[in-house]
């Protein structure tokens, strides 16, 4: 490294980014790990080992995550395959799938499942009529079912993209060499799309480990890691954080192990498609067409059920906790906008600020990482990816541990909520930004500089405009995931700073389903409006890059 690089503004900006990341990502993480070892009272790890409930929670979480991952793959991969390779009636509906996971608050999905399959659910009752007793929905049955029907979309999205890129000529070649069509597909296509399937399956695994909302509602007596971590955090408060930190550390270790496996799989070799010609969808007709359309449609319909529930619930009269189905009202929505608009205002304010900060930060830092690498760049790149491995609950515990009192007291302020949002969602923007920048040739910027425009100005005037469409799409994606964030913000928020997801969670907990539905419907609107506007006005397809 020469002296000139110290004089470049880029070096100092990279250093500043590293400082921010160290303070807001590394420091909370270090705080968790150190509190688990040296926190107040007996060591967290010895308490962990000697408490059967915690050990059980860890094992249950691993079993649950494995089961959900397997089922998501079983649903997601065939669905992706039929949508990518065939055309049939109602296929357009399946394009809605990626939206569902982002749009429907998990708490509401869990509540809807209870209305269907709870002890008194519609399906449970119908089955009981014909003499079949379903197992209790609380516990394994409910957790696995509801999480699978939310997370399979991640497998679907990942696989659909991979199949789309697969070169159909390979398959034709295999067939012309005498391999039967079905076998040709398995032998030739599977190795190529397998890394994508595995990567999305591991994503499902980590998301299940970190899942908070559904676990809280459906686990009942079954201890799960995220639930016991949250309970420990609530019981310990912020004065003594040993146990919550230890449990959070366990979750970090699990996710690190998963990421390690992921790396190992990826490093074991990859089939690159140099120049692909995607397959034309084959139209399916008759019985086969009806069967495929029917089963795909069923999956979509089941996933969309919660949306129907909240739409009906939002306009239904309730007397206390009791829904008066069939009686319609606008009172619930009046509460959201007029009587108690604080959660809406808070959500819009905090998520708006957080989206702005995280997009600005990730645009600048991806530029630094890709175009101006220097000695500290690898550290910036690595640390900025860490939040991907932290569940919301872990991040919440970490922020409370790091910024409660001390030299930077942030607990009890709105800043800590915004901070939690930014840290959780910034890595998405970073990945997006880096991918875009790799495709922008250095020459255009160099041309600008050689014509006498200063480096920072060149970035603003030449590189930024090229990045802009991708940045806009990343901003919308960040917005949708930020405004629905629950698991970190529910730990760090303070009285009067409830956001929409927190308010929905609390209302469902107190049984006020009508109000919860109204807030839920508004949350869905708040998420969808920017997506639809971007699509209609600017032709940005937010989900194309994912």
């Amino acid at each position: 490294m020469n002296a000139a690089s110290f004089r470049s503004p880029w070096f100092w900006m990279t250093l500043a980014a590293l400082g921010l990341l160290a303070l807001f990502v590394l420091y909370p993480l270090v705080n968790i790990l150190s509190a688990s070892l040296f926190g107040e009272g007996p060591s967290g790890w010895s308490r962990l080992v000697s408490t059967p409930k915690y050990i059980e929670a860890i094992l249950n979480t691993l079993i649950l995550a494995s089961a959900v991952t397997v089922i998501c793959t079983i649903i997601g991969v065939p669905l992706a395959y039929v949508t990518a390779r065939y055309s049939f009636r109602g296929k357009a509906l399946i394009a809605l799938l990626p939206l569902i996971t982002l749009v429907i608050p998990e708490v509401i999905a869990a509540q809807t499942w209870l209305m269907m399959l709870g002890n008194n659910g519609l399906i449970t009752k119908a089955m009981r009529e014909i003499g079949i007793r379903l197992p209790s929905f609380y516990g394994w049955f409910g957790l696995i079912t509801s999480m699978s029907f939310i997370y399979y979309t991640y497998v679907y999205i990942g696989t659909v993209a991979a199949i789309g890129k697969f070169d159909v000529q390979l398959e034709e070649a295999a067939q012309s060499l005498g391999t039967p069509p079905a076998l040709a597909r398995i032998k030739v296509m599977l190795p190529v799309i397998l890394p994508a399937i595995l990567a999305s399956a591991l994503l499902v695994f980590t998301m299940t480990v970190g899942n908070f909302a559904i676990s809280m509602i459906l686990s009942h007596r079954l201890p799960l890691l995220s639930v016991v971590t949250y309970q420990a955090a609530v019981a310990e408060g912020t004065s003594s954080i040993t146990m919550q930190s230890t449990l959070a550390s366990v979750s970090v270790l699990i996710v690190m192990a998963v990421l390690f496996v992921n790396r190992w799989i990826v490093s074991r070799g990859r089939y690159e498609i140099v120049q692909g010609r995607g397959a034309r969808p084959v139209p399916l007709k008759g019985l086969r067409g009806a069967l495929v359309a029917g089963s795909a449609g069923l999956v979509v319909a089941i996933s969309l059920l919660p949306l129907l529930t909240i739409t009906l619930g939002a306009f239904t009269t309730a007397r206390g906790p009791v829904m008066q189905w069939g009686e319609w009202t606008l009172d619930n929505l009046a509460r959201v906008f007029v009587t108690a608009p604080e959660p809406l205002v808070n959500s819009l304010t905090y998520a708006g600020i957080a989206t702005f900060i995280s997009i600005a930060f990730s645009a600048i830092v991806s530029y630094l990482v890709v175009k101006k690498p220097n000695l500290v760049t690898p550290a910036v790149d690595y640390i900025s990816a860490i939040p991907l491995a932290l569940s919301g609950t872990v991040l919440g515990v970490g922020l409370l541990a790091a910024f409660n009192g001390g030299w930077l007291p942030l607990t009890g302020t709105p800043i800590i909520i915004v901070l939690a949002y930014v840290i959780r969602r910034m890595p998405f923007g970073m990945r997006n930004g880096q991918a875009v920048l790799h495709n922008i040739p250095n020459s255009i910027e160099e041309a600008s500089i050689s014509l006498g425009v200063a480096p920072v100005r060149s970035f603003l005037r030449v590189v930024l405009p090229v990045m802009l469409p991708a940045v806009a799409s990343a901003a919308i994606l960040t917005w949708t995931t930020t405004v629905s964030e629950l698991s970190a913000s529910i730990l760090v928020y303070s009285g009067g700073r409830e956001t929409l997801p927190i308010q929905i969670f609390r209302l469902i907990d107190s049984g006020l389903m009508a109000y919860a539905s109204a807030y839920g419907l508004v949350l869905v609107a708040v998420i969808l409006i920017p997506v639809v506007l971007a699509n209609r006005l600017f032709g940005i397809d937010v989900f194309s890059s994912k």
Binding site: G320, G412, G496, E498, G511
Partner: protein, 327 residues
């Protein structure tokens, strides 16, 4: 509607940025929205200023009061049980509200450090649709019959003060054999709110919970639900409000306590949230379909002993077999 809402949102945004100019009392409350709204109007009239309301779990709010002790931001805390408040005594100051004269002496907190704002009674919430021809239970002993195995839901005493009150009370009231047989029939829920929800959704036949939670479903029009006050006696516990030490609103803070204890506020609270008044001069039957306190057999309940024995009791409780375990 749309523009109105945007206006309201903008207004609320403005309010949240500009700190309140007037010295209005700030209420820290763990009570649900309908209960807060019920007393807000009364308080406005009695205090002459509108209340600032901060909501949150009682543990969270009490810790906040502790953290703000050097420069209090809140004036009045409302409400929690004596055994929760006990640990935070030093952050509150006694106040002998004139309204306390209508509250029975048995409910008063020593020194008037906290003011009883309402009382809770434990009830059985029974879903008569699920009885399958079996008589509805009338006593705790009825529920100890193996026929009720897996049909009775209660909140986890380790996580819920409602659950703790019930479990501790039953352990004192019943003989060991009946108590253990009853516990063996119970399914333990993670939170107290899932108890009435579970019964109203028809998932469990009987839920053990406070009257205020269970009656909301009866009042909502679910005719198949009914409340049972067990014949051996049920348990009563009071909710307290407290005046934060060095409350910034000064006299207005005291007036807020007066308002919370006032007959008007307690009637509103009874009507909207089904909270049984702490005052003895309100006739329940005039407002809701709940029995008068005098008609209900109440078993003795020692809050201090319950708080003291907590750890040991929870350990014993955890070791007892329950219905949820075998499934």
């Amino acid at each position: 509607m749309k523009f109105h809402s945007i206006g309201a949102a903008a207004l609320a945004l403005g309010l949240s940025i500009v700190p309140a100019l007037a010295k209005e009392p700030v209420l820290y409350t763990s009570n649900p929205v309908p209960a807060v709204e019920a007393v807000q109007a009364v308080a406005k009239e009695k205090v002459g200023a509108s209340l600032g309301v901060i909501t949150g779990g009682s543990g969270v709010l009490l810790r906040r009061i502790e953290a703000e002790a050097a420069a209090p931001q809140g004036d009045v805390f409302w409400s929690s049980s004596a055994n929760t408040l006990g640990a935070y005594e030093k952050f509150f100051e006694p106040y002998n509200s004139p309204e306390l004269s209508a509250v029975p002496a048995s409910l008063r907190y020593p020194n008037n450090l906290f003011q009883p704002s309402n009382v809770h009674l434990v009830t059985m919430l029974v879903n008569t649709d699920l009885l399958d021809g079996v008589e509805a239970p009338d006593s705790w002993a009825d529920l100890a019959d193996p026929a009720w195995k897996g049909k009775v839901i209660v909140a986890d005493p380790a996580n819920s003060s409602t659950g703790y009150t019930i479990a501790w009370g039953l352990a004192q009231l019943l003989d060991k054999k009946t108590y253990e047989a009853l516990v063996a029939n119970m399914v333990v829920a993670g939170s107290s709110s899932s108890v009435p929800k579970g019964v109203s959704m028809g998932e469990y036949s009987v839920g053990l919970t406070f009257e205020t939670n269970s009656y909301a479903y009866v009042d909502g029009g679910q005719k198949e639900l009914k409340l049972v006050y067990p014949s051996e006696g049920t348990f009563m516990t009071a909710d307290y409000a407290g005046l934060v030490k060095n409350a910034p609103a000064g006299d207005a803070a005291r007036k807020t306590i007066d308002a919370l204890l006032s007959k008007e506020a307690q009637i509103e609270l009874l009507k909207v949230a089904f909270r049984r008044p702490s005052r003895s001069d309100i006739k329940i039957a005039d407002y809701v379909g709940l029995p008068e306190l005098a008609e209900v057999k109440v078993a003795p309940f020692d809050e201090a002993a319950a708080a003291k024995a907590r750890e040991a009791f929870l350990a014993e409780w955890a070791a007892l077999p329950k219905a949820g375990d075998t499934e």
